[in-house]
């Protein structure tokens, strides 16, 4: 694989870009379905979908065809989830990064040959749920999220 861009261009199964969709405070199964069905309106389907308040049943995420779902481990129902396109996962290495909080989750996308034609081999996407109704001791500090990384990082 020359890089992610070339592979996607060659396969034409996915976009030459790297679209990510973010939906905060999603909450319900109806909204979840509406969101994922609306992806047909995009020129290229998203490769990562970051969701706050994902619908779950007994702490298990709902699934959608073509995506793999990841969420912080129990206890408690997941407050954040990242859905990774199976197409992306087939081409590149995707791994989850768990933090001390159930309201924060990262996914690392890795390619030994670089991403986007740049020398960077990794891309990290971090999803954080900041709730104002939590006690201050439960806040996720900015230093836990925003830190210097030599490779691309999306928060």
């Amino acid at each position: 694989m020359e890089n992610l861009f070339n592979r996607y261009t060659d396969s034409s199964a996915v976009s030459p870009s790297f679209p990510i969709v973010q939906h905060n405070c999603l909450g319900s199964w109806d909204v979840f379905l509406t969101l994922f069905h609306s992806f047909t309106m995009l020129p290229h389907p998203p490769l990562l979908v970051a969701i706050q308040d994902p619908p779950s049943r007994q702490s298990v995420l709902l699934t959608f065809l073509g995506f793999m779902s990841f969420a912080p481990p129990p206890p408690g129902r997941p407050r954040v989830a990242i859905y990774v396109s199976r197409t992306l996962n087939q081409h590149l290495s995707c791994s989850t990064v768990f933090h001390d909080s159930t309201e924060m989750l990262s996914v690392d996308v890795y390619s030994p040959e670089g991403l986007f034609g740049f020398p960077h081999r990794s891309l990290r996407v971090t999803l954080v749920y900041l709730r104002t109704n939590r006690p201050p001791s439960c806040y996720i500090l900015p230093e836990q999220v925003i830190s210097f990384l030599s490779y691309p990082h999306l928060v």
Binding site: F18, I20, P46, F116, L123, Y139, I146, P152
Partner: protein, 144 residues
């Protein structure tokens, strides 16, 4: 609460991707105003790759709207390396050129056969010259 995040983003630095003036939350009540709660930041390694932040999808029934962030390869790719003719080893090239012979021309050349012979001979000659020259990579900051 987001003020501390903005301060941290400013220090590291991370860049806010949201388009100014584009709301991401539309409260159901008629009293509250639309707001921008859904923030996205990119660090300096990613921000040059981000081509758009937008809300292109229709409402999902939630008071928040989906946000789409798209990364694309750089529009300006570096051109391939070129021979550094100034550093050409003239003596070595001269000896190689003395020994160089073109392919025999077709006995009864047709336009196509003559064109192929010319292309092949030119390619051989070019390859000979470039094989004696080092390559130079243009600087990303060079003028086009």
């Amino acid at each position: 609460m987001s003020t501390r995040y903005f301060d941290a983003a400013f220090d590291v630095p991370y860049h806010l991707l949201n388009t100014p003036g584009v709301y991401t939350r539309f409260p159901f009540d008629t009293i509250s105003r639309p707001t921008v709660f859904d923030l996205a930041f990119a660090n300096t390694a990613l921000s040059p790759l981000v081509s758009s932040w937008d809300t292109p999808l229709p409402s999902t029934g939630s008071d928040h709207v989906p946000c789409a962030i798209t990364q694309k390869p750089p529009a300006i790719m570096l051109p391939p390396p070129t021979p550094h003719w100034a550093l050409l080893d003239i003596d070595a090239v001269g000896k190689a050129l003395d020994a160089f012979t073109t392919l025999p021309c077709p006995a009864r050349p047709t336009p196509n056969a003559l064109s192929r012979w010319f292309d092949t001979s030119t390619t051989c000659l070019t390859s000979l010259l470039t094989s004696h020259a080092t390559s130079k990579h243009p600087c990303p900051r060079s003028m086009p």
